[in-house]
Amino acid sequence: MRSDGWMTQETVGLSGLTRRLEELRGDGYVQLTLLTVTDWLEEGEFEVSYVLTDPAQRRTVILGVRIPRETPELSTVSGVWPQAVTYEQEIHEMFGIRFEGSPRQGVPFILEGWKDIPPMRRDFDTLKYSVEHYEDRPGRRSIDTRRFVGRVSDEKSFTDAWSAREDDGRERKLADMNDGTAGDARAAGTDGAADVTGAADPGGENTDE
């Protein structure tokens, strides 16, 4: 038996939440280990989960409460567990759930000057946000590995690809070390070299400089 026998799960309605938390606390679950939220977008609900621990009897319960996404409001538990202030502050920022009576609601925790919908909600479009806010950085001069992938076993193409690179003494030397055929490609002149480049680099030119 290796599964954790110390954990139970239960759900409660919003109206019975405060009473159930008090009951559990009286029953020995005195620690609030975690306060977290799952967004069930398709069902139009948030599930707020209270992970409570009973250190004396070594057991844990996950108490879940479902609240509608349109009116996400709960009352605070920070009066009982002081560290809940941080959890509630973060959840308010990341999911937009309001904890009535909690200090620091609306005070930025991680984000600064955030104008969009709360970012941990499932309907927040991360791709759209990054496209709008971050610009493409011009690429650096690099060796495009696509030139070599699948060609290593074919020695001639490999050395051709090397020798076709722009005139760089070190790279020429490498190509010469690999095979004498590199010299042929050079002998064919610049046109020949350009052809090899085109063949060996199907993904397009490197973005140099």
Binding site: S49, V51, T60, Q83
Partner: protein, 375 residues
């Protein structure tokens, strides 16, 4: 006439985000009178990379390179907990091969050892004693060498995977790890002399940074902070996992609940980790599979469910709240790092009355790790 030394004048000061108190970036906004802190607010967000959100957009196997980055000194706990949470939800956790359980526990204990070495060095380093942190980082590096041999990586190992571990122990690994342990053991008496018998350290640590025991349940504290109050709480004993029940060890406690007691707990836990690693190397099964055969991880779907899993990191209780919805991605992962409580709520509660020169060492003593606060 009023000047900056006038104790009736309140000074507003930003401490950080770069300072010796933490591994990472985190700032504290302070209000001082003289050099005594009146109150303070922590500010995080400098290291927010949205790990939890990223995981919701990636398949299960793609989440591994993400979770290990949540904690630099101790990534293995994150890997283990993500694997365990999803294995439990997929219903395969009970089938993990025995050898994999042993290797997982070995890895977890090695990472605890490496992280404890680092923080103990940082503890005196924040007080200006140079040699101990240098030694400690060297010793940690030897442990990282073993990790490199084991997994191919020094910092982020991505070694514990679904179904077991990524590969078997290399040939002769036990002997080389034993040699590393001996090197660490040889250096420990030096550290004792230079750190625990040092008047500077004793004067700046004994009686400083006191945490009252009644805050433990109120704020859900864990790890060396609690054990330094004489309360024997340790996830490895209280909620045994992997092969810890088969190992012989006691929960280390100290009295005093100050910085010195916490450093003592950590110093003794280094010896304990070495002992546990030796026990594991001696009794580990040599044969057998190290990973469960799983269906293609590219198309792995896990039924709907939620779980909370926990393990003892060097800083305290690490927890993962994992929710799946039947798809090939997690619905929600919430990482509960010990620093979330220790580094924010507890620190803010301890600040009033603290001398500003003790702030860095206090933050090291709470072992604050910002990436796990902001994830």
């Amino acid at each position: 006439m009023s000047n900056d030394y006038d104790v009736t004048k309140e000074t507003h000061l930003w401490f950080g985000p770069q300072h010796p108190g933490v591994t990472g970036n985190m700032s504290v906004e302070l209000w001082l009178k003289g050099d005594t802190i009146q109150r303070g607010i922590t500010h995080v967000g400098y290291l927010h990379r949205g790990f939890e959100k990223l995981m919701e957009r990636r398949t299960f196997i793609q989440s591994f390179p993400i979770v290990c980055r949540i904690c630099v000194p101790e990534p293995d706990t994150n890997e283990y907990l993500l694997a365990k949470g999803l294995e439990q939800l997929a219903g395969i956790y009970d089938d993990i091969p025995e050898k994999a359980q042993w290797i997982r526990t070995l890895t977890l204990e090695m990472s605890r050892l490496a992280a404890t070495l680092m923080v103990l060095g940082g503890q005196v380093g924040s007080m200006g004693l140079g040699p101990v942190p240098q030694w400690m980082m060297t010793l940690r590096d030897y442990v990282l060498d073993s990790f490199e041999e084991l997994s191919g990586h020094r910092i982020y190992h991505m070694y514990i995977v679904y179904g077991g571990v990524r590969r078997d122990l290399p040939e002769g690994f036990e002997g080389r790890l034993e040699k590393t342990l001996q090197t660490i053991e040889e250096r420990l008496p030096w550290i004792d002399r230079l750190m625990f018998e040092n008047d500077v350290f004793r004067k700046r640590a004994i009686g400083i940074g006191y945490v009252p025991p009644e805050w433990v349940d109120e704020m859900s504290l864990s790890g060396p902070i609690v054990r330094a109050m004489g309360i024997p709480r340790d996830v490895r004993k209280d909620y045994p996992y992997e092969v810890y029940p088969e190992l012989d060890f006691d929960v280390i406690t100290e009295e005093g609940s100050d910085m010195f007691a916490r450093a003592r707990v950590r110093r003794r836990e280094i010896a304990q980790s070495i002992n546990l690693i030796r026990q594991m190397l001696a009794s580990m099964p040599k044969e057998g599979p190290f990973c469960l055969k799983l269906p293609s991880l590219m198309h792995w779907r896990i039924p709907k469910g939620q779980t909370y899993v926990r393990a003892e990191a060097s800083r305290g209780e690490f927890g993962y709240f994992v929710v799946t919805d039947g798809s090939d991605k997690v619905r929600r992962v919430n990482v509960r790092g010990p620093s979330y409580v220790h580094g924010v709520s507890l620190l803010e509660r301890m600040l009033p009355g603290t001398n500003i020169s003790d702030l860095s060492s206090l933050m090291v003593s709470l072992q604050t790790c910002p990436p796990e606060i902001e994830r």
